[in-house]
């Protein structure tokens, strides 16, 4: 049985990197006594894959992983079994049973929501003006950023990859392209804004939180972004 599990990552565990989170969940499955499926071969490993790695320092309310189990009671029991053995800051939010033919989460990823807040002491002098300026920035026909690569400098247009950008109090919200094809990092959007302002983004300026990860059930032209937890769900 294929399952998709959604979890959050908050507080100090944001400093635990992606590879270690994978190891963490392998051990968590054993502690919780989940009858997870193993691969064949001399050193079998658990059938488990993650939708999108989260960078060190980022928090999240919308992480996804897919697992396969041999047997299970039901999704509700699965969530509570796992939550009994979680470390502080990691919480299982949802569990969905997937159709056997469902694509894995990693291949579905098309977009993600992020919220950004300034870390203490990193705010610009005039925070209001800074935040208000974002709508003009977004209003441009092209959102250009100069990136340094091995072959020199290169200009990229981010416009097509930013689906939404808005302000909520002192929080910046953005819905941007994600996944293996066009993965946009929220930091890069802010770097572009600072560049546009003629300034440099201070190091570690933002506490960034991933809010949700989406798949696209439409096509390139007409995107229909659906949270990963709601794609490929088995109807049984």
């Amino acid at each position: 049985m294929k399952l998709r599990i959604k979890f959050s990552k908050q507080g100090p565990v944001k400093f635990v990197g992606h590879l270690d989170i994978m190891r963490y969940f392998q051990k968590a499955m054993r502690r919780a006594g989940i009858d997870i499926k193993y691969s064949e071969g001399f050193s079998p490993h658990q059938i488990m894959s993650f939708a999108a790695p989260l960078g060190v320092g980022l928090t999240s309310n919308g992480e996804y992983m897919d697992i396969e189990v041999n047997t299970m009671e039901d999704c509700k029991t699965m969530v509570s079994q796992l939550n009994e053995t979680m470390a502080d800051g990691i919480q299982i939010l949802e569990c969905h049973m997937l159709d056997e033919r469902a694509k894995n989460a990693m291949s579905l990823v098309a977009a993600a929501d992020y919220t950004l807040t300034f870390r203490e002491g990193k705010q610009p002098n005039d925070l209001k003006a800074f935040l208000n300026g974002l709508s003009d920035f977004m209003g441009q026909e092209h959102i250009l950023i100069t990136k340094k690569t091995k072959k020199g400098e290169r200009e990229i247009d981010l416009k097509a990859f930013i689906y939404e950008l808005s302000i909520h109090g002192e929080t910046i919200f953005m819905k941007i392209s994600a996944g293996s094809a066009d993965n946009l990092k929220p930091e890069l959007v802010m770097d572009a804004y600072y560049q546009w302002l003629g300034q440099t983004c201070p190091e570690f300026a933002f506490q960034i939180q991933r809010e949700e990860v989406y798949g696209n059930t439409g096509d390139e032209e007409h995107r229909v972004l659906v949270p990963l937890g709601l794609i490929g769900e088995s109807l049984e």
Binding site: P12, D20, R23, Q26, K27, Y38, T85, A87
Partner: protein, 621 residues
């Protein structure tokens, strides 16, 4: 959400920030207002090393079972964070509460190897605690040391308020009760030290004076306080199944060196290898019952979720129920994706059969530790492993499909001759030849024999405590002799030889058999930037060499000097169980190349029977 001691910005700047955040699965949380004693358990090396240490996990669990004590963990900050903490004057904190350690009642530092001594000073220094016991006030924590290097605590005597000699499970609670009692009575730090010095196994360096002969050797060491005992006797657990054992070890987020369940099957060793300190000071042998181990194996795998379990002891092949526990682990867990790792097993039909079940033969290698190249020298060190056994074991393994062998040796052993050194290459060659005796069509490619030698350091409480250690030049000369001999071997293309760092070995020798005067050396090198000396990328020999001069100390005095049988050693005030008479007898047997049988064959009267345990005691009673 827990608040961290370090800012996000610092944590994002350094390597592996998860070393410093705590919050791991099974970390103990307590209400600070409900505890009387705050104890910080320190392993003075980086997190990944410290978290791999079983003893620390046992004591952490043991302390925290008491409601009135909160035991937290401290490790050495890595060099990147070390620098930031110094620049910004951030006090060192414990992982659980993230509180500065200077607020704590106790800091317990485990002494696992000599080359971590500068890291002890780092922990105290970053913790903003005075380095010398003499400078500490009523506000400062009590600094207590324990572990194998506490069997010669003298090089650290200036820095510790007390040492605990022996296994931690025994008298720690009594010490804590005395501390509470003293606090309740409004007693001073000194009052507590006096109370503590009356407890068996506790050594308070302040209460002893050392008198020296003109030549620098010790004339005598005497208590200067009526509460202090003449002899400090090591403490140990007699009945293993009744001792504390961890049920819920902390599970690190990051990959640590020992990323698995460690099942301690027994303590002590029956073998009596004359170079081995652990084999002497952990006497007598005490085993866990099979039923106990079965129960704990299941509990620990369940509480941690680890995917691997390993057995731990000095010589697992000597464990009475080895077959029972190994078969249980395979039957019970093999199909659940749990790896079973079996270190330090004697190579025989049983272990080869087991290994073929739990390992991928093509990927694993076979390990032998002959320790010396010739039978004569193996008799000198009392290593009961003959060439015949090694070649037979290797032959069976090769038939079973293995084609990689590791051989461990020591160089610079007492009485060592050129023949003994060359024997290392010859034995390696013989192992390779056993492989090529197998018909070609039945072989699994080429054989690879890797021989490694470390340099021998004489340790306190071993028959070799009187031995002269080699100089750096002598060590290297011996390594070259071995290397040259390897080049002359017929199958040299299948053989490989490595040898260890010699500079580090010399310092290890100084610290292992050092006296109180060595404290000044450790402080001097620390102040000049020595840190993480056991990490070759950080070890700076020139700092140490210069410090010998500055401190007016001579490394040779501690290493290459011939010691008289009647010399008073800095560690002689400790009763480690094995008697000095026994060690002297064994030193003489070594010189005569006379083998002493193991404890199960015959009792050799080492003295550890006084602890009312061990093979000899059990057969008598």
């Amino acid at each position: 959400m827990r608040k961290l001691a370090l800012s996000d910005e610092i944590l994002l700047r350094i390597e592996k920030p998860a070393r410093y955040i705590g919050g791991e699965v099974n970390m103990v949380k307590k209400d600070l207002s409900a505890v009387d004693i705050r104890f910080a358990m320190c392993f003075p090396d980086v997190y990944e090393i410290g978290m791999s240490h079983l003893g620390m996990q046992i004591l952490y669990d043991m302390f925290n079972r008491r409601e009135d004590i909160y035991c937290e963990r401290i490790f050495s900050p890595w060099t990147d964070l070390d620098q930031i903490m110094r620049e910004q004057q951030i006090p060192l904190f414990a992982l659980e509460s993230q509180d500065p350690i200077k607020k704590f009642d106790f800091i317990g530092i485990t002494l696992q190897y000599e080359m971590c001594y500068t890291n002890i000073l780092q922990v105290l220094d970053l913790g903003q605690i005075p380095l010398h016991w003499e400078d500490r006030t009523e506000e400062d924590p009590i600094i207590i040391g324990g572990g194998p290097c506490a069997y010669n605590p003298e090089p650290l005597a200036e820095f510790f308020d007390m040492f605990y000699i022996g296994e931690g499970e025994t008298v720690y609670f009594e010490l804590m009760d005395r501390y509470k009692e003293n606090k309740k009575n409004g007693g001073s730090r000194r009052d507590f030290l006096e109370m503590a010095s009356e407890i068996d196994g506790i050594y308070v360096p302040a209460f002893y004076d050392v008198f020296y002969h003109e030549d620098g050797t010790i004339e005598s060491m005497k208590p200067n306080n009526p509460h202090a005992k003449e002899k400090v006797t090591k403490q140990l657990v007699v009945s293993m199944d009744e001792a504390y054992y961890i049920e819920k070890p902390v599970v690190p987020f990051i990959k640590v060196t020992q990323d698995r369940v460690v099942l301690e099957v027994m303590r002590g060793c029956i073998r009596g290898c004359r170079f081995c300190q652990a084999g002497n000071v952990y006497r007598p042998l005490r085993e866990h019952s099979l039923e106990y181990l079965k129960e704990y194996a299941s509990k620990l795998l369940k509480s941690t979720g680890h995917e691997e379990i390993s057995l731990s002891s000095l010589s697992s092949s000597d464990y009475t129920h080895l077959e029972g526990i190994v078969n249980f682990l395979i039957d019970e867990f093999k199909d659940k994706g749990v790896n079973i790792s079996l270190p330090s097993l004697r190579i025989d039909a049983f272990s080869l059969d087991v290994m073929s079940k739990v390992q991928d033969i093509r990927k694993s290698s076979l390990t032998f530790a002959p320790e010396a190249g010739s039978q004569r020298l193996r008799d000198v060190i009392n290593k009961g492993l003959s060439e015949e056994i090694i070649l037979k074991g290797a032959g069976e393994a090769f038939q079973g499909g293995w084609n990689r062998v590791k051989l461990y040796f020591m160089l610079g052993l007492p009485t060592e001759t050129i023949e003994d050194m060359e024997g290392i290459a010859e034995l390696s060659e013989k192992v390779a030849e056993v492989y090529y005796d197998i018909p070609k069509d039945q072989r699994n490619g080429k054989v690879q024999v890797v021989a490694s030698s470390s340099f021998f350091v004489p340790k306190p409480f071993t028959p070799f405590q009187w031995a002269r250690m080699c100089t750096k030049e002598e060590f290297l000369e011996r390594a070259y002799i071995v290397k040259d001999k390897f080049k002359k071997m017929l199958n040299q293309k299948s053989l490989k030889y490595n040898y260890h760092e010699a500079d580090l070995t010399v310092l290890e020798g100084v610290l292992a058999r050092g006296d109180r005067k060595v404290s000044s050396l450790i402080e001097e090198v620390y102040k000049n930037g020595a840190l993480y000396d056991s990490w070759s990328e950080h070890f700076k020999n020139d700092i140490w060499m210069k410090a010998f001069e500055t401190c007016g100390l001579d490394a040779d005095f501690y290493t290459v000097r011939e010691r008289d049988l009647e010399e008073v050693f800095p560690w002689d005030f400790i009763n480690a169980g094995v008697s000095k008479e026994f060690l002297k007898r064994e030193w003489q047997n070594a010189i005569d190349a006379k083998v002493t049988p193991n404890c199960r064959e015959r009792c050799s009267g080492c003295g550890a029977k006084n602890f009312e345990g061990g093979v000899c005691y059990e057969t008598e009673n």
